[in-house]
Symmetry: C2
Subunit: 264 residues, 2 copies
């Protein structure tokens, strides 16, 4: 691990909340992950977390993902953002409790999307927090959208944007599963963990041509979000944040069970 | 009141919190003010609120106003911002309860200061929220500062910045007092309310030349912040938000007891 390396770590919503229950955080996991981050000794770090059961149910109730359809949706912007602030507060307080100088930077006021993709961003606060040797903490959020009124901006898209804009050394995605599998491990007991992926493997997904790699739904979207970072030479490690110690070891640059997405 | 006018209203920290007690909101006043704003029928509105007993004690404890002195201050950024989010949530929920489409836009991620003055800003989200016929809600906050690490950005400075950047029609400052007095009305029973001020009256304050106008401390700072707006032709009305009905009437453009700061 180089001293000047910048790591962006995502704490997935499925790792830090219980997805089945509305707004139920997994506080034990949040505290443990804060401890692992503190123990890693990494100095230049950006943390992005997902929404899990805080974000998705509200975004769904107000149909925020499809954009503006009626005024009834407008209160959903505030409610969804506030739910995300609530989860963010738990994450930030857990980090502070471990002595980490976490600074929350709410995405709703620094990103604008167009048809769901980041079109304008104000990342000076992120740079400034890093300049103070502190840790910017961002999260998936509802944002204003130039084409459709508003949109859900995923933590993954923020990770990808910041990794390219700031030239991150590497990215770690902490998931609720071990990584990318050949098929859904819950349905297929013979599913195998794919330890190594290249960006071109993911491009093939879009064409529906690759039968060997069954990455459906959320995981496919996540990988397509990460492919450009990997193509730019920034390795992305997908690892299970629910298994104690993996995030710590991944931050330290040790080899851990998971999926490494990178070129070469 | 013209249909296309844009009003920026500040809800002062001393109006919506009890300043003597740490983090004690005046929820009754917040609800009443939300009701007055809803009743006014104003369509294009930006709300900015102060921190009162949510912001000041923490900012003071961590000496955030003087900028970076040591790492011990860094956790103060998160704590102060979180306290402000807590108050903001009460304000936004009161507005939503009255049917107003309030959208919180946290200043920490869209403003950067230099030696305490706004040097960079990302106001596209404010424009976008207005474009949805919704109400941006901002507040005094801790922000990153290019010269001193961080700074306290007052709600007043945000009001002034947005009024000039967006060409507001007028500004209403809701205070915990009736307006500007000739001397401190708590100490001097013969203090008179000054109903009319011109920007040049305030410029004189800086030179300490004006004995007729005793605006010390907070009020002097507030007036100096507002002088450039008034000079640009945007009238600023200072009015007591603690007196029921005044904010409603001020929003409607009716004449109310208070101090009007304007040219001409």
């Amino acid at each position: 691990m180089r001293d000047d390396e910048l790591i962006i770590i995502k704490l997935g919503g499925s790792a830090i909340t219980f997805k089945e229950e509305f707004k139920r955080p997994d506080e034990e996991t949040i505290r443990r992950l804060a401890g692992e981050i503190a123990s890693s000794g990494v100095e230049r770090l950006i943390i992005v977390h997902g929404g899990g059961s805080f974000g998705h149910p509200l975004a769904h109730r107000y149909e925020l993902h499809i954009g503006l359809r009626g005024d009834w949706q407008l209160r959903g912007l505030a409610e969804t953002h506030e739910a995300m602030e609530e989860l963010n507060k738990l994450v930030v307080e857990a980090l502070l409790a471990k002595g980490l100088p976490a600074v929350p930077l709410p995405p709703i006021s620094c990103f604008i999307t167009e048809a769901g993709r980041i079109s304008k961003a104000f990342i000076e606060p992120v740079r400034a927090v890093l300049g103070l040797r502190a840790i910017p903490v961002l999260y998936g959020d509802v944002v204003l959208d130039e084409a459709q009124g508003f949109a859900i901006l995923s933590g993954d898209q923020i990770v990808a944007y910041l990794a390219l804009a700031l030239g991150a050394s590497r990215v770690i995605l902490g998931l609720g599963v071990d990584g990318v599998f050949t098929s859904d491990p819950l349905k297929h007991p013979d599913a195998r963990l794919i330890e190594r992926l290249r960006p071109e493997d993911i491009q093939a997904l879009g064409e529906g041509a690759s039968a060997a790699l069954d990455v459906t739904g959320g995981m496919g979207k996540k990988l397509r979000e990460m492919a450009p970072i990997a193509s730019a030479g920034i390795p992305v490690l997908l690892v299970n944040a629910r298994r104690p110690g993996l995030i710590l070891r991944a931050l330290r640059g040790e080899k851990v069970r998971g999926t490494l997405l990178s070129i070469g």
